[in-house]
Symmetry: D2
Subunit: 253 residues, 4 copies
């Protein structure tokens, strides 16, 4: 592997596993373990250890898309990577796939999928709120996926421009209104994915689906539980995120 070039994104990991996303550049950076001179990262190989002014060690690594997403996402009610991953478990989406994403929000899902369909695939993400469009575009540039993910300030409930797409994802308040457009956009065998924190929109989606060409309709929720593993004290963690949302899948036929 090559060393970091000046200006490149660097992931710092402190001795307690704390992670910082910075750049290799001549700048001082404050952490709970002292001030780190980030110019040390320029030319360094990933895996190298640099030190703060207190002599505390920091490993420098190339960030992955998951490192980026962990820095972007904020609220627990949103679709988390554990959920986004279920799209991969239940559709054939992968390199080369064309995805339409309704409800960009901060762009996390678009980024997650963009990373996986590149370099030949593409994600077209629809968002009506201007502030979200800007936030998402900033986040997409942050992860270097601007060639793969396009954010459009358009209402997906008014129509989808793309055709023959492999996947349409919907994370919007009234997903039922986008079903007819998803039907038109999807190629036969293509997949629809709807994320809804509440059960009422799920019911409306089923009603909408019943009058369109979809099959293999099912709804899941995904719970991830963390386990603490210690020599004589192994147990699930006391608290967990119990719900993010219901995920409905359907296949265009």
């Amino acid at each position: 592997m090559s060393g970091f070039v000046e200006g490149e994104r660097v992931l710092l990991i402190d001795e307690q596993g704390g992670k910082y996303l910075v750049r290799a550049e001549p700048r001082k950076f404050n952490t709970r373990f002292g001030v780190v001179d980030l110019s040390q990262a320029i030319g360094a190989q990933p895996g190298t250890v640099i030190h703060s002014h207190l002599g505390k060690p920091f490993v420098v690594l190339r960030p992955s898309v998951v490192d980026y997403i962990q820095k972007i996402r904020r609220v627990p009610q949103v679709l988390l990577p554990k959920d986004a991953a279920q799209i991969l478990a239940n559709t054939g989406v992968g390199p080369g796939s064309v995805v339409v994403d309704g409800g960009t929000g901060s762009g996390c899902l678009a980024i997650f999928l963009g990373h996986l369909v590149r370099p030949t695939g593409h994600v077209y993400s629809y968002e009506i709120r201007e502030d979200f469009v800007e936030l998402a575009r900033r986040n997409i540039r942050f992860t270097g996926l601007e060639d793969v993910v396009t954010v459009k300030q358009q209402d997906i409930c008014q129509g989808i421009d793309e055709r023959d797409v492999d996947l349409v994802t919907l994370d919007i308040p009234k997903p039922e209104d986008a079903i007819p457009h998803a039907e038109n956009a999807l190629k036969p065998g293509g997949h629809l994915f709807v994320f809804s924190p509440c059960i009422e929109p799920v019911k409306r989606v089923y009603e909408a689906l019943s009058s369109h060409r979809f099959k293999e309709i099912f709804t899941i929720e995904c719970l991830v539980r963390e386990i603490e593993v210690k020599p004589n004290a192994t147990r699930p963690k006391t608290r967990m995120i119990a719900h993010t949302g219901y995920m409905t899948f359907a296949r265009r036929i």
Copy 2:
């Protein structure tokens, strides 16, 4: 999209959602809804409806990798797509990644990951049992991923040939024995993933990890619960798969 060529894999979906993986070829195929002449699929566009001798409709689609995996996998104790997807949620693996997979089994995980790292990445899968090696190779050819996934009849606990890899996955009885080799094979920042149906190997893995260069160590389980959505009868399904395995992640530093 182009029509099916003779000999191409075709996914048939019957009117109740039953799925059949066949080929477009001059052959009769028996289903619960009558005999289908598969030569009808030759030249047909995906999404077309063909009929059995009883007049029952079947949609013809291009199968996705998930369709293939659903036909391959059998026992519920194994790592399921819901679990494999958690690798995506917690690592940056994607197109171009290099993966070493310990314990090929029937090849499901290797296929799942091979689909996602193609065309420039690669999966090297280690398996000691000759019968599994053959079964996996057959399954890999079945999914058309033979250029991306290589099965080696070698014991991963004896060593890993590859270097600078992005991910090492272990689904073997004694994963602790492969940890030193995983450390050598992984590039800094690379990820280790260990799947264990039981808790005892998880504990041994933690012990092994403590004397090697790994951080960000955590263990999760992933539960997927299906919801039945009906006009006046919406509820989680009565039964679910309550456990496949514990998933331990660690990052090489």
Copy 3:
């Protein structure tokens, strides 16, 4: 403890943990481990071992209410003991409490609660279907709780005769119709418990509660997961009952 008298209920446990509810009486009883002469149980102390004609051992025990209920209940969609127990966890019901139970069904919940409010409390159970009334009465006699549990062939949605009761339980298709009667029957501080397999009736119950004198309204579901513990193979069981019903609690003020 005294020995079994002729005609008394006896729980037989075979060497694999299989349980049989029989009587101490001069009768042959067929099991998978041979024929047992039940007259051996007459006069025997609980804990004694008797044998089948094949020489296989059977422990004889006095059955508990849970042993009875396990023999009574059948379908997994019904309220199970794990759920009934949540009533105890969330109300002060116990010896001396007066309970009204809407929707007797096979009588399992009435029996479970009858056992816990005896000897001074009482359970009045309402059921409209004659066949269920008879089945429940038979089950109640079977468990010896006929002095504590009264089954009434009446529609609880038409009214509740009792007043000043500590708990009203509803396991009926339209629980919302019984809410006004529950309000009248409950004493201040008394508890309402509604069991619904589906979410739609839960929503209707909340709507009904909003116009009556209830507070501390909440809804839970209870999941019990079994763990297999073996020397080197400890893990949750592969399958579990993922859903029986939603349980809504409210307190009359």
Copy 4:
């Protein structure tokens, strides 16, 4: 129902569902909704509304054992009522049962069970730490169960005085050491219950049980998930308690 006598325990519920355990006595009590003159409760019927100096309403109710326990318990790692209730779901414990409780702690489980075995049953609770013995005795008097629950400052791993008991519960660090004593104390058909936050003690208990007269051995965990029910926003709560402890049951034969 009769009105509150002076000095009697009273449960106040404010307009947001906040609960306060006080006494009916001539005393001012501060709440977030103003100062309440508790002498208003003397002679009042349960269900009556009294007011703070700000005119805010408070319902007065007779507290149940669950109200008491909610005020007593503190940390989430301990056995919660949802767990204690599983004892009732899996044993025949009820009015008249004799229980031995190992590891009194703050006395919550002893109180919960004491409430359910009264008036003719009894709970003998063993605790080695003097401060816990005192705390538990105070809590037991607080709930008025001092005639039903006896706390002994003794180590249950050194022996159990009682014989022919229906249930032995263990919530101690080394439950395996109490198994031989539990065997002696339990009557045939009696139940053992072991609560362990971690899996390692569970494994040691199984090992210990294998050389004693126990059958029907199984281990469960109980998850309670709360559902938010709102007109157009029904969903499980975002967070939940994911683990309190493993519960192991066994039956003395």
